[in-house]
């Protein structure tokens, strides 16, 4: 802070500095310190590359849905309820995976033909029973779950006027219910309960087939 003369704490006008001599005080403290930028500088190149990578993925996804066929398919899928749509997509994923496993089993040259056929039938039976169980349990839980949704909305009445928040939590509840039911059936019920049943069915089918021969 540069001042030509020290200004005294004196109300006598003769002792006060003339205005021309009083230099404007300049505070240089802030300019010498650079304000911290948002985000780390170290990870900025990585973040930029990630942004570019996701930009190209977005272009590809945009082209996938920006055509006549996709728009018509999405219009038809949009008529399905949100919770049911997610359930159908999860079942589709598990169908593709089971089909992949069955194909690999049938192409496995380490096993003899009869063993391959038995395993393939077992895997198909597990898929069928799991899918039926998943839809059945989901359907049974839906009615009771709607009462839980009402209780949740009543307990969180503070955002009753916020439509976006309500939709967000309702969709979250529906998707959580579907994911938990499907995960429980495919990851726990299928290996523990359904597989022995499917094995028994597969063995009976094999026995009948060999008896006929």
């Amino acid at each position: 802070m540069l001042i030509s003369r020290i200004a005294t704490n004196n109300f006598n006008s003769s002792h006060q500095l003339p205005k021309k001599d009083m230099k404007k005080t300049v505070f240089k403290g802030a300019s010498s310190v650079s304000l911290p930028q948002k985000g780390s500088k170290i990870f900025k190149p990585l973040k930029d590359r990630y942004d570019t990578f996701t930009h190209y993925i977005a272009i590809v996804l945009g082209k996938m849905i920006d055509n006549k066929f996709a728009v018509n398919a999405l219009k038809k899928l949009g008529e399905i309820k949100e919770g049911n749509l997610l359930a159908h997509l999860i079942v589709l994923g598990s169908t593709i995976l089971s089909g992949f496993y069955i194909k690999k089993t049938l192409e496995n040259k380490d096993l003899d033909a009869k063993r391959r056929k038995t395993l393939a039938i077992n895997q198909a039976a597990v898929w069928a029973l799991s899918t039926v169980s998943a839809y059945t349990i989901d359907g049974l839980i839906k009615k009771k779950f709607s009462t839980f949704v009402d209780k949740f909305m009543a307990a969180n009445s503070h955002f009753n006027n916020d439509v976006i928040e309500i939709e967000r939590y309702k969709k979250g509840l529906s998707q959580a219910r579907t994911a938990i039911v499907m995960g429980f059936v495919y990851r726990f019920l299928a290996p523990v309960v359904v597989t022995p049943i499917a094995n028994a069915i597969g063995n009976k089918v094999n026995e009948k087939h060999s008896a006929h021969k």
Binding site: Y50, F53, T54, H55, I57, A58, I59, L61, G62, M64, I65, D66, N67, A70, V71, L74, K75, L77, G78, E82, L85, L86, L89, I90, L92, G93, I96, L97, F100, Y101, F148, K151, F152, A155, N156, R168, Y169, K171, G172, L173, Q175, A176, A179, I180, M182, G183, F184, Y186, R187, F188, P191, V192
Partner: protein, 249 residues
């Protein structure tokens, strides 16, 4: 509520109400009907109501349910289920494969497998759950970021049918978001399975110290040297030595 505290308050007489009777019973006066208006009623019309049931909501499970509904972690979980359904599903699978399935394998009494096989199956379940969650995490993040870019700047990525996707409160865009977010589960399921099988064996060996024992073949490659044990006094071996006619002919 006040009525229920009075004696005989569960018994209501429809007719012949007088104002003084109402005042004595503590009933609200706006329920008063004069006998002139209710001449068709008989004195035998007595309505017996059940006494009010007292309920302590503090001790019932309704309070616990309210606590769950207002819990911060539960709400965050619902937001995660809405925004990342694949990752949420992988998290549910992780809990099931790492906790419940190994417990059921080890504790299930009906299984004929020995303890080593049970350990192997439990470790297999844990490893597949961890690998599945890890792969989902790696695949989901860039796809979700790309979908967010499409949602924020739709016109940059959807050029032909922008109006269709943006109308009706972005219904078509929301449906496409639900479908596109399932791509890691649908499209990448077979490669994920191949990768899981490939990585599983080294993980089980190096992390859990478990290797699948190979079943012994009926035709073993190890030769049986018992017939060369000259000190044995058991008859079959002596007989085999006695019948040994020499090597090459």
């Amino acid at each position: 509520m006040i009525n229920s505290l009075f004696k005989d308050s569960h018994i209501t007489r429809k007719s012949r109400f007088s104002k003084s009777h109402l005042l004595q019973s503590g009933a609200p006066l706006n329920n008063y009907k004069s006998a002139a208006t209710d001449r068709t009623m008989n004195s035998s019309d007595i309505i017996v109501k059940k006494p009010a049931e007292i309920s302590f909501s503090g001790l019932s499970c309704a309070n616990k349910l309210d606590k769950l509904c207002t819990n911060k972690w539960f709400k965050n979980m619902l937001i995660e289920a809405n925004e990342n359904p694949v990752l949420f599903g992988a998290g549910v699978a992780l809990v099931l494969t790492c906790v419940f399935r190994p417990l059921s394998i080890i504790l299930f009494p009906g299984s004929n497998k020995n303890s080593d096989d049970k350990k192997y199956a439990a470790a297999h379940s844990i490893a597949s759950g961890v690998i599945g969650f890890g792969l989902a995490f790696v695949l989901v993040a860039p796809i979700n970021a790309a979908i967010d870019k499409i949602k924020n700047k739709t016109s940059d990525y959807i050029k032909k049918n922008t109006d269709l996707f943006l109308k009706d409160k972005k219904k078509l865009l929301n449906t496409s978001e639900t479908c596109l977010k399932q791509i890691p589960d649908i499209v990448f399921a077979p490669p994920k399975a191949i990768l899981t099988i490939a990585i599983l064996a080294p993980i089980l060996k190096n992390v859990f110290g478990l290797t699948k024992k190979k079943k012994a073949n009926s035709e073993s490659a190890i030769p049986n040297y018992s017939m060369l044990n000259f000190k044995s006094t058991s008859l079959p071996q002596r007989n085999s030595m006695q019948s040994f006619m020499g090597g090459a002919r």
